[in-house]
Structure formats: C-alpha cells, structure tokens
Symmetry: C2
Subunit: 245 residues, 2 copies
C-alpha cells in the first residue's frame, strides 16, 4: 500500500493510496484516536471513489461514529484505464438506455464480470488496510454499496469472513441469489418501491435470499434516484449497532 497524497479538513484526514494498480482513498478521524472500525464503500456504476454519495456518507460514518472509511475505484471506473471489456459494458448500457429499457437486467451480467475482477482487489485492499496500526487485523469491518456496489458487494461479503455487517440495495438480480444465500452477517437492504430500473419482485427476492438472521429491508416510495436522505442516517446507526462493541 502506497500513500500518494494526504489532506485534512473538518477533523477528517483524507489519504489517497494505491494497492497494486488500484487507486483508493482512506478517510480517517483526527489522529491520536484509538483503533476504530473500518467501513468499505463501493460506488455505483459510472461513478468513482469520490462520488458525492460516497463522500457524504463517509463523512457521516466518520463524524458520527469515528470509523475509518475506504473507497476504491471499480475496474474501468474513476482513475482506472478501461479495457475493451469495460468499453463493451458502457456500450451495452448506453444502448439499453437509448432504447428506454430498465437497466437492472442489463447490468446483472456486467456486475458479474466486474465482481470477478473487483472481489480480489477489495480483499487485497482490506489486507493492506488492516496492516495500518490505526485499523489493525482484529477490528470490525463493514461494507456499504448500493446498485453496482451491491453487484460487487454481495459476492465480496459472501467470500470475505472479515466483513461483519453490510448495507446493500437498489438492485435485485437472480444472478446474486446464490452468493446472497451464503451471507449470514446482519444486512440492511434499501429498495426504491417505484424503481424504474429494478423490478420490485426481483429486489424483494434478493432481500429474501440473504441467510442473515438479522436483516432489514427499507423500501421507500420513489424512483431509482430518489433514495431519501434519512437512509444515510439509518446506515450510520446500523453500522454503529454492529461494528461498535
């Protein structure tokens, strides 16, 4: 892990890093604090590690709970080069968009391909982050990611026993059901009740598939981009319940 830049504002330290050729950012509470839990955040499709929905929630997790928060660019996203496969993903999505089709079914295959690359990257990133003394190998780890972040996150959390609680949502693909059935940690799952891209039944089926004894579905009226702001507070409380001893 190489740190390439460091800034600090409002009591939050922001460090750019790379693990291999994957660029990421680590936000931490002011130095001198005790070891604190870590939340991994995966951005949505077409976005990047500093998307507003990531930065805003990271700020809440840090100031509200004193957590460390790490985000990396997904393959073909943000500061990363695009492979021919990535270019093909974009073309397929644009075509569906131009045809006015719901993007959920189209994205399912893309997410599977992305997850095959991204899951090992996330695990290597977590290895590196846990070597930092302010995080450590024994501390609690959470995962947050909706839409594409769920497409990558469900296989990641299924494969990664170090992650102890996860917020997912705004997605519902049958292709994720098998991985979801291997997840037993507490899950908070957000869904937009009138999502124009995600079939309601498919979203409910994904929630149903998690094997977690503690799981909560938050379904809100509104379309794909109308997730209410109070769900960010709810995610903060969810991680506070499960990551703080």
């Amino acid at each position: 892990m190489h740190f390439t830049a460091e800034t600090s504002s409002n009591g939050v330290i922001e460090r750019d890093f790379t693990v291999g050729d994957v660029p990421g950012v680590l936000w931490s509470p002011a130095p001198g604090a005790d070891r604190a839990p870590l939340v991994l955040m995966a951005h949505s499709g077409g976005q990047h590690k500093r998307a507003p929905g990531i930065v805003g929630r990271a700020q809440r997790f840090i100031t509200g709970c004193g957590f460390h928060v790490a985000a990396i660019d997904a393959p073909g996203h943000g500061d990363r080069p695009r492979t021919p496969v990535d270019e093909q993903h974009i073309a397929v999505l644009r075509q569906a968009q131009a045809a006015g089709k719901p993007l959920g079914p189209v994205a399912a295959g893309i997410h599977l391909e992305l997850a095959a690359r991204a899951v090992p990257e996330w695990r290597a990133t977590l290895d590196a982050l846990q070597e930092l003394p302010e995080i450590g190998a024994e501390g609690p780890v959470g995962f947050w990611g909706i839409m594409q972040g769920t497409g990558i996150g469900v296989p990641l959390v299924a494969a990664e026993p170090r992650i102890g609680a996860a917020v997912f949502g705004c997605l519902g693909q049958e292709s994720l059901a098998e991985a979801a059935a291997r997840i037993t940690v507490p899950v908070e799952f957000v869904l937009q009740w009138d999502d124009e891209h995600i079939d309601r039944r498919s979203g409910l089926a994904l929630f149903d598939a998690f094997a977690s004894k503690e799981k909560t579905l938050h379904a809100n009226a509104g379309g794909h981009r109308e997730l209410p702001r109070f769900e960010a507070d709810s995610a903060t409380r969810f991680f506070a319940r499960h990551l703080i001893a």
Copy 2:
C-alpha cells in the same frame, strides 16, 4: 373529558381520563413546556392502553421529542365491558389459535367490526384532547398502531384529516386496501418478514396500497412477536421528522 387520576414520574405526567365511556391515558412532558405535538397510540388485540409496547414507546416519544401521547382502550378491551359481539370475537380467535391457523385472516373481519366502533371514539377523543391548552386545535397529530392498532388505525387515519403522519404494521388485509388508498400522509410501515400470522404478500400489498407520496416499509427478519427494538427508535425519528416544524 374527565380526568380521573394524575401521577408523575421521570419527568412524565400521566393522567387517566374518560371521554364518554371510553377510558384513556394521556402522558405529557413536565408542565410549563410549550404546546407540543400529540401522538395517538392504539394497542394490539387482547391488550390495553397500558400494554408494555405502548408505555415503552410513549416514554420514548415524550422524552425523545417532548410530545404528548394518548392511548385509549379499544372496544371490549382493557377496562371496558365486553358485549356479546366482543365475546364472539374472542371465541373465534381462540378457535383459530387452537387449530394452529394464522390469525391474520381471522382478525380481518374482527378489525372491521372493531374499527366501526373505535373510529368515532378516537375522533371524539381527539376533539377533547385538542381542547386542552397544552395541545390545542392547530398542533400536529401523529398515529401509532400495529396489528389491531393498524386494523383500527388505517380507517381512522383515512377518515381523520387532523392526523398528519402514521406508523402502521404487522398486518396486511385486503379489507384495508380501500381505506389505505385514501391515506396520503407520510407512513412508516413495519412488517415481520417471517410472520407466522400475516401472509407476506398481503402485508406488502397493504404497504403498496397507501397513496402516500412518502412511505417507508421496514421489513425485518423474524416472526410475529420479534419486531426489533430499534424500530421504536425509528418510529420516534419518523414522528420527529414529520410532527416537529
């Protein structure tokens, strides 16, 4: 409205009252506070106005938000005499219980009959409460009630324009869909994902039926009696968002 008893503890004043022959209890923050919003709470079947689930949440609404909270006994419940119809309800429920049947479908008809009596009682109670100077006729009013409280509450909130926000749940009867479709105020709806008495599809259909632009479903893993405690905090925040200007 006649007050019949008053006690006070932990900064909460508790006053027993009657409106006509309906007994109720009004919990209020310590005197001298400004006018405050009012939350009406309807208990579940077989319970009464001082059931633990009512008293515990009332305490949170008062200490967390400074609200007034009022609960009344439903017809045939608590301190009220039972009519032959009430006795028949109990017999029907006991029979279904003995046969190991889910109680949701059986309760639907009972709730309809109860609501026909209880809705006018609630409206008269609200009239009386709003004459108190510490509540007033213009202040915000919320409604909380799950199970039988939803069976009575959905027709009440549909009929009562003074109620501006409602928490319902743990019920899902097609018999309520028409009233739910007339409700447009913000709704938080809790559902137990593995409820042995309430069919999941029927619960989701009731949530779907509300015409409210802002509505949130909280579905939690677990059976009928396993509603997580954090939903009481969520209801408190819901009322804080909608009843405090």
